[in-house]
């Protein structure tokens, strides 16, 4: 799809000029290794250690969030691009909606503990 936004016809200002690079090979490799490490840590904790349940859940969530950030910076180029940062705005709105979904569901479904 990377071809698409330049071919998309018309009056784009970048039509003929080269796009700034989509990350270097080094950045991709660092991101890839970090992602693997962050995936292996929870696996090892689950299989190889006897951490209690709360600890496991907290570790998994923490690793997941760190990996999300890693991927945003190394693969999704959140820092790049000129003009208004629409991608960052969309991301913040998305995080807000996720918060509403999770917190709202917990609040709404907590009735279950009362009725059971």
């Amino acid at each position: 799809m990377s071809q698409q936004h330049t071919s998309a016809a018309g009056h784009g200002h970048h039509e003929h000029e080269e796009h700034d690079d989509h990350g270097s090979l080094k950045a991709y490799i660092i991101g890839f290794i970090l992602s693997i490490v962050l995936t292996v840590i929870p696996l090892l904790i689950v299989f190889e250690t006897s951490m209690n349940k709360t600890g496991v859940i907290i570790t998994i969530i923490t690793m997941a969030v760190i990996q999300l950030i890693v991927q945003l910076f190394f693969f999704m180029h959140i820092r790049e691009g000129e003009g208004p940062k629409y991608n960052v705005m969309a991301l913040i709105l998305g995080l807000f909606i996720v918060l509403v979904i999770v917190a709202g569901s917990v609040w709404i479904m907590s009735f279950n503990s009362v009725v059971q």
């Binding site: 071809q3 698409q4 071919s7 998309a8 016809a9 018309g10 909606i97 569901s105």
Partner: protein, 657 residues
């Protein structure tokens, strides 16, 4: 051998119902007729080159429109079957099980396979033209979206004759939709039909957000965009945040059904109410997804046919954007009776009522736009005028339903049925029809016949009130939704008969519209000016139908209603032709057959998952992977339209000398 084929066929095909056998015959005959025409007139190459591989937003929009009208027909027949069944007490025209299937497919098709594609059709047909672009931001992805929708819809629709239709309601609540309640394949068709077309919807949302943010004509600042473009933008924002919730929810349901999970079962630690909670997080924003573009259409039409600027532009934009956020805070009002507690219900009741405020502001803005305007009662304006009172009543009954304690009385009664049909028909359907009448001449080059259109308009409108007003009363009389028949002693007979008559009036209205389209193809008033309604926005500045590249010279849009301002500056004299020397070659995307094949592979995979045939599912998914790989190695995806071709087209249209 014969016995095993026979036993396979009897479970594979739907058998035993004369209505279905009739449908089998008509589907067979129609397919043969289509194949015959394609072979006889040697149209296969034309079909492939001009339509199946196209990435032109105008053609994709037309295909969306045609598909959605076919789905409107199917969903409408479902509705008439239900109304026929309910016309009198103790009717056994449909059996209970068949009735369940009919109301399920009616709801699912009308929202997901009629309203959504009709909306995407209007997005595609109008937005690039309105913002002065030559295509959407991702034309290839646009074709992918359309074909995913198309094959998803086909997968859902074949359940009618193969395997059996879903019958657990349009949102498929568990535990009924779990294996324990629905052991057949119908629910699998539901899940996969929606999943496949849902990917397409999500991609369209992304596509139009980027198109609107990045492809606007020079000078068109965000606060100078036409209202319809604003409404598409706000609707797309809801799409990208709401559709993933649907995808995840249905995937979880599929885990339960296919892998024996217990996420939403009654036992094994599952909780069916969690599904209800999740699906409405998509389901409620979904109704705003479909209604906001309708608001945008009305805003365009009201301004054009009153010959005035839209009243309160900034408040309109603010209303759209605040609705798109507020729509994520109301979902519990669909299940107040779940008993989540007074605090939860109060919060969501107030949030629901709060949405009435921006919506009300919009209604006043439309009225003030008409105030002291020079109103012309053309067809688009007629539908707009019919929408306002209809939607106000529908909104008022919505606020009644939002009162949580009172909702315990209305919940799942015919009062609710009447309410949501009033906002969805009065708001969404009237809006899209108005939009189709309005932009039809732009896309097809001729107006739709006025006399037939007025017949359709009055039949739809009178039919609507005759059909749904009695249902409010029936709700108060205790009639609940989804009952397939009722006794004489209930006293519901007379009002139901009236309601059925209204439904058939709307059906006749639809027939008039089909007739109107066919008649106008041959005899409709041709639009030679490109500006048949004396329009205000950029799409009316180019010929009808627009050339493949839309704008020969990229327009400058420094003001709101910039085409109108330009017309005023030249005192409504015809626009001077462009000197040919100013024309340049135009950069355009190339057609591609990959989206069609890619989506067909999804269809194969979906069919395999529906029947649990893993070999077929794997085969389909391999096809999906291969087509993705093929595309990622295609570098030659664009070309330049030679300047000679641009010159010839423009000179032939009288736009250049």
């Amino acid at each position: 051998m014969y016995a095993s084929i026979k036993s396979f066929a009897s479970s594979f095909f739907v058998t035993g119902d004369p209505l279905i056998y009739g449908a089998d015959v008509s589907i067979g005959l129609t397919s043969i007729a289509i194949l015959f025409v394609l072979f006889y007139f040697k149209k296969w190459g034309w079909l492939w080159r001009e339509w199946l591989t196209t990435v032109d937003h105008k053609k994709i929009g037309m295909m969306y429109l045609i598909a959605s009208l076919l789905m409107l027909f199917r969903g409408g027949v479902d509705a008439l079957l239900m109304r026929a069944q309910l016309a009198m007490p103790n009717v056994h025209f449909l059996q209970a099980e068949h009735y369940n299937e009919v109301f399920t497919t009616h709801g699912t098709i009308m929202i997901l396979f009629m309203a959504m594609p009709m909306m995407f059709g209007l997005f595609n047909m109008v937005v690039p033209l309105q913002i002065g672009a030559r295509d959407v931001a991702y034309p290839y992805l646009n074709a992918v979206s359309f074909w995913l929708f198309f094959f998803g819809a086909m997968l859902f629709n074949i359940s009618f004759v193969i395997g059996g239709s879903p019958d657990a309601g349009w949102l498929s609540y568990p535990p009924l939709s779990e294996m324990s309640g629905s052991p057949g394949v119908g629910q699998n068709f539901y899940i996969w039909g929606i999943q496949i077309s849902g990917i397409g919807s999500l991609a369209t949302g992304i596509n139009f957000i980027v198109t609107i943010l990045k492809m606007r004509a020079p000078g068109m600042k965000l606060m100078k965009m036409p209202m319809f473009t604003w409404s598409v933008f706000s609707s797309s924002i809801i799409i990208i945040f709401a559709f993933p919730i649907l995808t995840v929810t249905l995937a979880l349901l599929f885990i339960d059904r296919f892998l024996g999970g217990h996420l939403f079962t009654m036992d094994g630690g599952g909780n069916p109410m969690m599904y209800v909670n999740l699906i409405w997080m998509w389901g409620h924003p979904e109704v705003y997804i479909v209604v906001l573009p309708a608001f945008g259409i009305f805003s365009e039409i009201v301004a054009t046919f009153s010959r005035k600027r839209i009243f309160g532009y900034k408040s309109m934009v603010f209303a759209l954007m605040s609705i798109s956020i507020l729509s994520f805070f109301t979902w519990v009002h669909h299940f107040f009776t779940m008993g989540a507690g007074a605090d939860v219900n109060v919060f969501f009741a107030i949030a629901t009522m709060a949405i009435g405020i921006p919506t009300g502001a919009k209604v006043f803005n439309w009225l003030f736009t008409m105030f002291r305007g020079r109103i012309r009662l053309e067809q688009p304006m007629l539908w707009t005028l019919a929408f306002i009172p209809c939607f106000v009543v529908g909104g008022a009954t919505g606020v009644m339903l939002a009162v949580a304690p009172a909702d315990y009385q209305y919940h799942n009664s015919y009062f609710l049925i009447a309410h949501f049909h009033q906002v969805l028909i009065g708001g969404v359907v009237f809006g899209y029809l108005a939009g189709i009448y309005y932009w039809w001449p732009k896309l097809f080059g001729f107006k739709l016949n006025d006399r037939l259109g007025k017949w359709a308009f009055w039949l739809w409108n009178i039919g609507f009130y005759v059909c749904f007003m009695p249902q409010y009363a029936l709700g108060f009389m205790g009639m609940t939704r989804r009952v397939y028949t009722y006794g004489w002693d209930m006293g519901w007979g007379p009002l139901n008969l009236v309601s059925t008559i209204g439904a058939f009036l709307m059906g006749i209205g639809f027939v008039f519209q089909v007739w109107q389209i066919l008649y106008s193809v041959k005899y409709g008033e041709r639009d030679t000016t490109g500006d048949p309604w004396d329009g205000r926005t950029l799409e009316w500045s180019i010929p009808s139908p627009p050339p493949m590249y839309n704008f020969a010279v990229v327009p400058h849009a420094g003001e709101r209603d910039s085409f109108w301002e330009e017309k005023e500056r030249r005192n409504f004299a015809p626009a001077p032709p462009v000197p040919v020397a100013q024309l340049e070659s135009i950069h355009m995307p190339k057609n591609s057959g990959v989206p069609f094949v890619f989506s067909a592979c999804w269809f194969v995979a979906g069919f395999g998952f529906v029947f649990g045939w893993l070999w077929m599912a794997i085969l389909g998914m391999v096809g999906v992977g291969v087509t993705l790989l093929i595309r990622s190695f295609q570098y030659d995806t664009d070309y330049y339209v030679p300047v000679e071709e641009v010159r010839e087209t423009e000179v032939a249209a009288g736009r250049a000398v």
